[in-house]
């Protein structure tokens, strides 16, 4: 398979690899995919409780080069965004940016799912910490 330069670049120098403390109430963790399918993405975001802005993002991915590149890219994109802004990232944006071939579109879908899952996890945590705030549950 021929890879685009951007996929290769993210594969060679992945951004924001690592883990945040998943028990930190300010951290949301999304884990999507399955080993049997050949792709597992873990995306974590750290959210500023005052501003609601994503301050940090980390990922670890088991998967092909396109899956690694997709998750590396979204860690860059979500940083500095509010949760609602981050939810607007579409898999097609990821696929376009990385010039993914049709057979690799599922990698970008997975990355979008990972963002949603991380935000949902964060909001769930916030909801259980602030039961008086119905807007976050």
């Amino acid at each position: 398979m021929q890879y685009s330069d951007k996929v290769l670049e993210h594969y060679e120098k992945p951004r924001n690899v690592g883990s945040l403390d998943k028990n930190d109430p300010g951290v949301g963790t999304g884990m999507v995919g399955a080993p049997a399918c050949g792709d597992v993405m873990k995306l974590q975001i750290k959210v500023n409780s005052e501003s609601g802005v994503i301050e940090e993002a980390r990922f670890k991915t088991f998967g092909c080069g396109s899956a690694i590149a997709s998750s590396s890219l979204v860690t860059e994109w979500v940083k500095g965004k509010t949760l609602d802004e981050a939810l607007e990232i579409r898999n097609s944006d990821i696929a376009t940016e990385l010039s993914l071939p049709p057979v690799k579109i599922h990698c970008s879908v997975l990355a979008e799912d990972a963002i949603k899952a991380a935000i949902e996890d964060y909001r769930k945590k916030q909801g259980s910490n602030h039961r008086d705030d119905p807007g976050n549950s």
Binding site: M1, Y3, L8, Y11, P14, V17, S19, M31, V32, G33, A34, P35, A36, C37, G38, D39, V40, M41, K42, K60, T61, F62, G63, C64, G65, A67, I68, V103, H106, L110, D113, A117
Partner: protein, 404 residues
């Protein structure tokens, strides 16, 4: 060292320069048609073909008349299986084969099944070998053919063809073996191994692409085939078409070289292969060998690197030419059906790499490849959420995955 280092000899081999040398005159000054009887151009082409037939027959213990030239092993498999099925259709309609066969056998059987033939696909044990009792139990009085490969193209394991041949002989069933990966690498003898039909290919043994052969037994029993290619009646009527003399000369020379160098070469291959395995296993944990180590081609190694997806590993090995059983290298997104048949879980099947060593590899290259594999696996495991979870003591089999 020339890079990328080629370690994918199961896919194809370069043509040995001595083979090229033998072929060259037959492109230009000796260009005759081997079927031309009326002049010396034809005679010298026929002589060259006859010599190649002797060289091929010599390697496998056959007689020259039993060699039918084809375009390669895929055609040989098609001709053997369809040819027997059609020729012996009155005697029976049942064929026994194995789940891990090459697609040239499996898809041929699938097509015959559509035409009403019954096909039994034997399972394999976790080591990749079939169970002979299951083979015996599968044979009925309607069985006309057993088709079991000798060496598997993905994992290199060797089926017990001599015992399979004996079972076939006892039950009066024809035995075909696809020996594409094994002929020239390890001893194969059609008489000792009780083989009735055998497929082989030039480009897997340092000969050219586009030429192969089907061995068809002439005595005890005399095997007949319905031709799949009609025309001038070449090759005892079994495969019409003007003989590609250059390719045939190349295949013959390749066989002769393999025969004279087999003992030394297979020992050297096994030593290189074991060195590669030992280096990798010494540095990395959770690496699994796919298929029997004992019953295996000397040049073959198939490893699963847990927690690291195969295609991403290939990307990390960009100056090494190997192949992966990973789904992502194919368009289907399905992991290898061969590894699946061994009972290798999908999660490990996605992490497999096939190393195929060959005549032009050396120790320096093996050490380099081992080093690159170790580096790449370590780097990708640092990136792998699965490796992190496993190290934390999470049982990955018990996790409920979002995409399951």
């Amino acid at each position: 060292m020339k890079k990328p280092i080629y370690m994918d000899y199961h896919a194809t081999t370069p043509v040995d320069p001595r083979v090229v040398e033998a072929m060259l005159p037959y492109f230009t000054e000796k260009f005759g048609n081997a079927a031309s009887r009326s002049h010396s151009y034809g005679w010298e082409a026929k002589e060259a073909v006859d010599k190649a037939r002797r060289q091929i027959a010599g390697l496998i213990g056959a007689t020259p008349e039993e060699i039918i030239f084809t375009s390669g092993a895929t055609e040989s498999d098609n001709l053997a299986i369809k040819g027997v099925a059609e020729m012996y259709a009155e005697r029976g309609d049942h064929i026994v084969t194995v789940a891990t066969e090459h697609k040239a056998v499996l898809d041929t059987c699938k097509k015959l099944a559509k035409r009403g033939f019954k096909i039994t696909y034997l399972p394999v044990r976790p080591d990749g070998l079939i169970d002979l009792d299951q083979l015996r139990a599968a044979i009925t009085d309607r069985t006309i053919l057993i088709s079991v490969m000798h060496a598997n193209n993905e994992i290199g394991v060797l089926q017990p063809i001599r015992e399979i041949g004996r079972v076939a002989r006892e039950r009066n069933v024809l035995f075909h073996t696809d020996a594409t990966q094994s002929v020239g690498k390890i001893p194969v003898n059609v008489n000792a191994d009780h083989i009735d039909l055998m497929s082989l290919s030039g480009h897997k043994m340092y000969g050219p692409k586009g030429i192969g052969a089907l061995y068809v037994r002439r005595k005890n029993p005399r095997v007949q085939l319905t031709a799949q290619m009609d025309g001038g009646g070449h090759e005892r009527g079994m495969r019409s078409g003007t003989l590609p003399v250059t390719g045939i000369v190349g295949l013959g020379e390749a066989c002769a070289l393999c025969q004279s160098e087999m003992a030394a070469e297979s020992a050297r291959m096994a030593a290189l292969r074991d060195r590669l395995r030992d280096r990798i296993l010494a540095e990395l944990d959770e690496v699994y060998i796919n298929g029997s180590m004992e019953h295996r081609l000397p040049n073959s190694l198939n490893l699963s690197f847990a927690y690291v997806e195969g295609e991403s590993l290939l990307m990390g090995l960009k100056d090494v030419a190997v192949s992966s059983g990973s789904a992502c290298t194919s368009a289907t997104l399905e992991p290898s059906y061969v590894l699946k048949a061994l009972g290798v879980g999908d999660e490990l099947a996605h992490t497999s790499i096939r190393f195929g060593l060959g005549r032009f590899n050396n120790e320096e290259e093996v050490d380099y490849v081992a080093g690159r594999v170790i580096e790449a696996v370590q780097r990708l495991r640092e990136l792998s959420p699965l490796y992190e979870m496993a190290k934390e003591g999470v049982n990955l089999k018990k996790v409920e995955w979002a995409a399951d």
